[in-house]
């Protein structure tokens, strides 16, 4: 019953009353209206009382037992019911992760170092049901200023728009969907204090590019795929006198959307199968030119390509993973000729693989202890473009690293780590590591 409706109805009655009606007629009508008004009043009172009575009914029924509701709903009445919150819009969430590491070389202990490797604050914002923003702000090495070594960076900043259940468009600065840890690199999600070498030296984790990417999946979510167009690498940054290019060729020429040269765009694609619980099998490919038409640059047709194949299987307490990655930088002959005599020429090929096994051997409540072992082999300069006899550099030796350690979790989101790493070639790098990591 609606009071406004009653008032309008009564008003309408007056308006339509013929103006020429006799006085007796009018009196009769007024009496009638008065009695109708009384009826409406009592009707309203009754409704009010009913409402109050309903409100007084106990909301919580008899304790200890389940009971049907006071007014049992029929199955048909449920068809209009959906027990979910209303649409979430304009909702902002805060998240973050961080890690602090301690590295102590076995031989030259003067190089022992403790570092707040990174502290990351992330913000997620949902504009509406279909559109959201993701952003991560990263602080590296604790202090950032002109005279300090820290960095502040926007690691991700993207907009996701859900086109349908099966298709999402991402635009902005996003993590490249490569390998096993580039997109999921929080310290609680990987084993060992430091990220593995293959996914730092060969795949330049945390690798991100600016661009657009479509993400799709099959109905049952077993298969997901990504295709994208993005910024790429800048080979004009190559420094032949620095060791950076030898440590990680792609890390030394990545752009991170910092005034990125964007004449040459790159394309990328990824596919992952997760249809069997516990199993992930996937691959990734990326290619793009890297000279950006810079005048007088000696490698105008240089192209950077990278691909990987990866698998992870987590049966019960086991966590097994393996990855192979290979990168190439083509058409570098003329450029390398200008670098002859310098220590670090541009490699034509670089590759690496690793295999890792972890076992959750103990857990009590939220605590868990998972020892792991990882072996990796990688070569950051496996081949160079032919510069002729005497000028073509020797390929680098393939490094092998064995890592043995354990992750001890206080809960799913806080981890203490310890491990020992043994190098096959560069034995001076053998080291002991401790780490603390968290995410929320």
């Amino acid at each position: 019953m609606n009071k406004t409706a009653i008032v309008i109805a009564l008003g309408a009655l007056f308006v339509v009353s013929p103006l020429y009606a006799s006085e007796a007629d009018l009196m009769q009508r007024l009496d009638k209206l008065a009695s109708e008004l009384e009826n409406v009043k009592s009707e309203l009172k009754k409704l009010k009382e009913e409402k109050e009575a309903r409100a007084k009914e106990p909301q919580a029924p008899v304790a200890m037992t389940a009971s049907t509701s006071a007014a049992p709903a029929s199955t048909s009445s449920q068809s209009s019911i959906t027990p979910m919150r209303t649409a979430i819009t304009n909702q902002t969430t805060l998240f973050g992760y961080g890690e602090m590491n301690y590295n102590r070389p076995r031989k030259d202990t003067s190089q022992t170092q403790a570092d707040l490797r990174r502290a990351v604050l992330g913000v997620g914002h949902r504009f509406d049901e279909k559109t959201e923003l993701g952003m991560e702000l990263e602080f590296e090495h604790a202090v950032t200023s002109a005279s300090d070594k820290g960095e502040v960076e926007v690691e991700q900043l993207w907009i996701d728009h859900h086109l349908s259940d099966k298709l999402t468009l991402r635009a902005g600065l996003f993590l490249v969907p490569v390998g096993l840890i580039n997109e999921r690199h929080e310290p609680t999600t990987f084993y060992g204090v430091e990220r593995n070498f293959v996914e730092t030296a060969i795949i330049p984790t945390t690798w991100r590019e600016g661009g657009v990417m479509l993400r799709g999946n099959t109905d049952d979510q077993a298969l997901t795929w990504n295709v994208g167009v993005s910024t790429g690498f800048d080979l004009t940054k190559w420094n032949a006198n620095s060791s950076d290019g030898r440590e990680s060729p792609l890390r030394s020429i990545h752009q991170e959307l910092q005034l990125a040269k964007a004449h040459d765009l790159s394309v990328l694609g990824a596919i992952n199968y997760r249809g069997i619980p516990g199993l992930t099998v996937g691959g990734f490919i990326f290619t793009g030119k890297a000279a950006h038409r810079m005048p007088a640059f000696a490698a105008p047709d240089a192209r950077v390509s990278l691909w990987d194949l990866h698998a992870r299987w987590t049966p019960g307490a086991w966590d097994l993973s393996a990855l192979y990655a290979k990168g190439t930088i083509s058409n570098t002959q003329a450029l390398n000729l200008t670098f002859v005599g310098s220590p670090t020429l541009v490699p034509k090929e670089f590759w690496g693989w690793y295999a890792e096994a972890a076992y959750k051997m103990w857990n009590q409540g939220d605590y868990s202890l998972a020892p792991f072992i990882r072996y990796e082999r990688f070569n950051t300069a496996a081949k160079f473009a032919d510069l002729g006899a005497g000028l073509t550099p020797e390929a680098a030796a393939t490094e092998g690293v064995a890592t043995v350690g354990a992750n001890f979790k206080l809960n799913a989101n806080v981890v203490f780590k310890a491990d020992y790493q043994k190098f096959k070639v560069d034995t001076g790098r053998d080291r002991f590591n401790l780490g603390l990591g968290y995410m929320f």
Partner: protein
């Protein structure tokens, strides 16, 4: 922060008529409650909403089985076919990483999980929990099973938080069933 709302308080099952209707356009909604009921129970089953409060002891049993991050209390329906109790149907939600996952759990007359359905999922990552083979891992589980991620429930790499929280949610619902609904007529 919203996700800190830990659902430890006494929960009350409210009449279905009091629930909020969902806007028509809901990008990440896959199933309505009625559709999930139809998928998890045979045709002709009647769903009767229940109200329930727990004693301190019952609450403690549920909490010891698993605490979950949730913004609303689980809702339960008693399911009958031809006047015979054939199970219970729960709708609940847990946090994934930042947003809530709405899911339904069907428990049969013997107290075993009959099926799990994802009703709504809102995040950019972790959609893979909708995979039928992942959800099928819960079928047949009862209160005597561990129902723990990386133990008897395999994880989906890249969707770990979603997997863990739904797994914890199912374990808690089974404990609530065991504490308060098992053996009721």
């Amino acid at each position: 922060m919203r996700k800190s709302a830990m659902n430890r308080s006494c929960w009350t099952l409210v009449p279905a008529t009091a629930l909020v209707a969902l806007p028509a356009a809901y990008a990440a909604q896959y199933l309505s409650v009625e559709q999930a009921q139809q998928q998890l129970f045979p045709a002709g089953a009647a769903f009767e909403p229940l109200k329930l409060t727990l004693t301190a002891a019952q609450q403690q049993r549920a909490d010891s089985a698993g605490k979950v991050m949730s913004s609303f209390e689980p809702r339960v329906w008693r399911v009958r076919a031809v006047d015979k109790l054939i199970g219970h149907f729960f709708v609940h939600e847990v946090i994934g990483k930042q947003d809530f996952i709405t899911y339904a759990v069907a428990i049969d007359g013997d107290g075993k999980v009959k099926g799990v359905e994802i009703l709504a999922y809102r995040e950019s990552h972790g959609y893979e929990i909708r995979n039928p083979r992942w959800r099928a891992q819960f079928v047949g589980k009862g209160t005597h099973d561990a129902i723990k991620l990386d133990m008897d429930i395999a994880n989906i790499s890249g969707a770990t938080l979603s997997c863990r929280h739904v797994t914890d949610g199912v374990r808690r619902i089974l404990a609530l069933y065991d504490a308060a609904l098992k053996g009721q007529p």
